[in-house]
Amino acid sequence: MEIGTFQKTGTGESQEDPIRPDFETGPGGPLGYEPVMWESVGGETATTMTVRYQTQ
């Protein structure tokens, strides 16, 4: 499990298009994959989310 801060993506207008982390915007560059699980660990800002995620 890794922890990273990502930009937010999604409109949040429906639960099928949630605001969520954009795993293509990590500080170390795009992950290159969508984690099968991730969980917020706080530190949310207007534009970013910090999450714990399962590495591929």
Partner: protein, 217 residues
Amino acid sequence: MTYHPLAETHDTGTSYWESLGLLGASTGMAPIITASTTIPAFDGQDGTAMTISDSVAKATTGNAESWAGWNLGATYTKLLIIAYVQPSTGSYMGIGAKVDVIPVGSIKPDAYQTRYADAYGLADLGKYVGTSWTGLASETTILQDSATDAPVWGLAFYLDPTLGSEVLKTFFKAGSSQWFEAMEVTGDTAHTSFQSVYLRHDGASCRYITPIMVWGA
């Protein structure tokens, strides 16, 4: 020695939750809704209607974003919500807690909610702030087919988002399994008190089944 691997946590007792420190005298948690065998009348619902027949609340066939819920009669900062479900042909099924009392129309805004679905291949946990939905956790390795022969699942949602605690947990109980934790969110304090809880579903003949329990403090 006789070993009963499921004796402590298999059924609907409180031992599992007490073992995690989520229930028990030291937690201050007390029963609010105790629907052991009969589901109480809803204080409000929207979308595809649910009809209560003793131990089951069954949705009609329409498929729409829907909810049905109860006011708690007071304001709580910690909740444990448990419900059992059978998806029939529906997709999302979940449970949530709302900052305000149950409204007449939309469940939005301001709630925490957890769900699972097969249609989107995920379980999730998130929040409404205003009318905007933010995902706080996503898990694609545990889901249940929305099928008429799917087993009854247990859903549980623990909320203690008060500053200093800051935790939200989703649990599942698949078929005859023990309860297990599927998602845990820490550090989110968007909502810190709750006055109502609700069942979140998409209609399509899904069923919520007793026991449905809510503890709070």
